[in-house]
Structure formats: structure tokens, C-alpha cells
Symmetry: C2
DNA sequence: TATAAATGTTAGATAAACCTAATTCAGGAT
DNA sequence: ATCCTGAATTAGGTTTATCTAACATTTATA
């Protein structure tokens, strides 16, 4: 696996994708902190500092000592490419290889780092240029456009309303398994029956069945 | 990408696959030398020595200082798994994504290292349990069986005979491009017209057209 | 068999990505 | 204005995979 012009390591790619996730995808803020980034990636802050210096050197982020971190234009473009590959592979696994919704992320985390422009283009075509991945997240286009998410969380839904699940915020296996167990999935219709003021737990109805969920759980279900 | 029990690094996997290639696939001998292995992998002999000590430690090869190297049963099993993934991915790229015959190897070299048993099984099924890859090489089965090759090289074919191309020995881009250029491919019928005793160059006919090829080239075309 | 050539190993460095422990800095609270 | 605290950085290590240069062993050849 020889090096192309300015080819990035798996690790560098993961840092860029993490920054995209923190700054754009989740919070709609545009800067991240060292500890926040390190926490997200499961490394120590000292490790992140080293990498931040390297990414700045390569002009992929803007960052000053003790300051906030944000992606440069090149860095963001690169991060969006990786996100595009991640979501295309998730779609492939789900649509073509009979993977379940909660299994795709782990494998896509590896596949997203395969280097071949032709592979991405052909995969996209093979899948029929999909717009959304199996979690309901928008797939960035070949030209690098990433639709903003208009999603809100189930914990924000008003009592007495009905909504439709479109994605999840948490991608851990534990969470996704619990989701399946409750027979929740993409496009499941949810009736919001009531919310407990004490701890934010909610009673909801899915497929005609009433269940109670915690606030923590509701905060990780995205709806339209 | 957390570590599974006894998970191997990309590098360790590449060493095992190289040993399989040298000892079984190409020469049908059962032992390799340090320089030979290092040469094949494009590293220095000193580097290979270090890795050999590690692979012995992990009981993946049998090897004594200054002695010959061969795969242990575990090592061979692991190497065959990687070769299986390599050839399944090549088949996928060729059959489903419209890659050409000479483009698949490079990308499969990356894809072969993806860790997911389910992915391999489902990919195999998706492709209809193929027996041969786009280069005509046998794909190891799920249970680890690898059909021996009965191929001989075009340079060994007798004058006046007709044969069929089934595979190539060389997988470099330069070689494969030249093959395409000559309009040679899997299953092309070749008439062996004559061989020059001086340098082993041969005159052959393909698709009714006469061409002359070098001995070096003929040694890398496999036929039945 | 003695020597030369080829093959293989060791020693000592480097770069990437990580760690722990110690230190520095910036912003909020007295 | 000073202090405290949490955030961030630095210093000093480790591990993996690589290298070069020097050394050791085996094999081939004269
Ligand atoms: Mn995902
Ligand atoms: Mn990743
Ligand atoms: Mn190949
Ligand atoms: Mn490989």
C-alpha cells in the first residue's frame, strides 16, 4: 500500500472525521476542544495534542496552542469524503449483504479507509446513488455536499404528537441492540403519550404497543 | 478497531500471505528464505528477520536462526483465509463494480485485511460462491481448501499447439497493462507458432493476429 | 579444504501513535 | 487582584515496523 500524494494514515483520517462529527454533525458549533476530541476518540488528551500539531502542520485544521480547533477547507473536504465512504459502505452492507442495522457501523469503520476513488464512484453507482444510509443519515454527494440534518430528538417531541424515527445519535452496539429489542427501526411511527416531569422518562406507543423509555434513551433517537 | 483474540496486524497478515505465495502457490516447495521473503515484500532482510522472530513467537511459522521458513498449520490456515478474502474481493470488483482485470489486485490488497467473518461469508454468498477469481486462480473455500494449480506457463507450451490463457503470474500494473494492450485476457485462445532458440521469444496468434512476445512475458502467462 | 560469495542476523536509529506524570495556562469565584 | 480549577501542553517512555551498517554463518567454488 504505497503512499499517494499527501495520503493520510487511518489515524489521521479518524481524527478528521471525529472533528467533523463534533463540529458539524452533532452540535452545529464550529470548534472543538482537545479533551472533547480525545474523549470522542478514546485516547488521552496528550495524544490528541500531538496529532493536532501534525494536522495543523499539514494545514488540515486551524488551531493555536490553548485555542479551539476547527477544520480547514481542505480538512473538511477530506473528512466529508471519509464520511461519504462510511455511509456508502453501510448502505452496501445493509442493502446487498443482509447485514442488520446495528451491525453495519463497525465494519464501515474499517471500510471507510480503503483508498480508491474508482471504488467509491462505482460503489455509489452500484447502489443507485443512495441519498440516505441505513440509519437515515444523509450521504455526502460526490461533489462533497452534505445535507444538514433537520432532525430533533425524541426527547424533544411534544406530548400527544406522532413522529417518525429517522436515525440514531448513538452508534454503540449496546444502544443499537436495545433499539432492535424494542422493535424500533428506521421509519417506525411513534406516538408520544406522556412525559414524566421528574426524570424525563416517556411513555410511547410503537406498533400499537405501549412502552416506557428513559430520557437518556429518548435523547438518542432522532425523529422527524 | 479494537483487538480480537490473537488479531494480526496488516503487516503480519502480509508476511503470512507472502509465505503462502512463495511456498505453495508459486513454486510448490515448502520453505522460503529470508532474502526471498524480504524481496517479495519489498523490505530489507533485517526487517524480515525481526518479523520472523515475532511470527515464530506466535507459532505461525516454523523457523530456526539461519534456517528455512515454513508456515505452521495455524499460519497456513490464517494465510489461506486472507487469500480467500483477496480473491473474493477481486471477484466482487470485477463482477459487480465493472473494474477491469488489471485494476482489481491493488484494491483487493487493501480489502483483504478487513476483519469481519460475517462480511466474508455474506460476500461469498452474494457472489454466488465463485470458484475462480478474475485471474483464473482458485478461491479457497470457507473450510480452507485451496485447489492446487495445474497451470503451466506459455513459455513451456510446445510449438504448433493451441492453449487457453487462464491466469497470470505477475500482478504488477505494468505487466497487466501490457497484457490488455495485446488484447490478451482470461480464456483467450493462443496458437503457439514458433519459438526463437536464441532468446526464447515466441511468435503466437491471438484472435487471428500474429504477435511476437519475449520469453520473460511468456513466463508470466499461465495456460491450460 | 580454504576461501569467497551469498545469505542471514544483530546493533543501533527513526517515525508514528500511543501512554503517564508533571507543568502551564485561562477563565471563573472569591 | 488573587486563587483555584479544569483544560491543555510538555517531557519522557513504549511498541511496531521500518532502515543502514556491521557482523556471523552457510554454501559454493577454486
Ligand atoms: Mn456509522
Ligand atoms: Mn474509522
Ligand atoms: Mn490479486
Ligand atoms: Mn495486503
Amino acid at each position: 500500500m504505497r503512499n499517494f500524494i499527501a495520503m493520510l494514515s487511518f489515524t489521521e483520517e479518524n481524527y478528521l472525521k471525529a472533528l467533523l462529527h463534533i463540529t458539524i454533525e452533532v452540535e452545529h458549533k464550529n470548534a472543538a476542544g482537545t479533551n472533547e476530541l480525545a474523549g470522542y476518540l478514546g485516547v488521552k488528551p496528550a495524544t490528541a495534542t500531538d496529532m493536532l500539531r501534525k494536522l495543523k502542520e499539514k494545514q488540515l485544521i486551524s488551531y493555536e496552542k490553548y485555542g479551539k480547533i476547527s477544520l480547514s477547507d481542505t480538512g473538511r473536504k477530506k473528512a466529508i469524503e471519509i464520511l461519504r465512504k462510511h455511509r456508502l459502505w453501510e448502505t452496501f452492507l445493509y442493502e446487498k449483504l443482509e447485514f442488520t442495522w446495528d451491525e453495519v457501523h463497525e465494519v464501515a469503520e474499517q471500510l471507510e479507509h480503503i483508498q480508491s476513488q474508482k471504488l467509491v464512484d462505482k460503489l455509489d453507482k452500484f447502489l443507485g446513488f443512495p441519498e440516505y444510509d441505513p440509519h437515515g443519515d444523509a450521504i455526502p454527494t460526490a461533489s462533497g455536499e452534505l445535507k444538514p440534518s433537520y432532525k430533533k430528538t425524541l426527547s424533544e417531541a411534544a406530548e400527544g404528537t406522532t413522529c417518525r424515527m429517522v436515525a440514531v445519535k448513538d452508534n454503540t452496539v449496546a444502544f443499537l441492540k436495545y433499539v432492535s429489542q424494542l422493535e424500533l427501526g428506521i421509519n417506525t411511527h411513534i406516538d408520544v403519550l406522556s412525559r414524566q416531569p421528574y426524570d424525563g422518562s416517556m411513555e410511547i406507543a410503537i406498533n400499537g404497543k405501549n412502552i416506557t423509555i428513559s430520557q437518556k434513551f429518548a435523547e438518542n433517537i432522532l425523529i422527524v
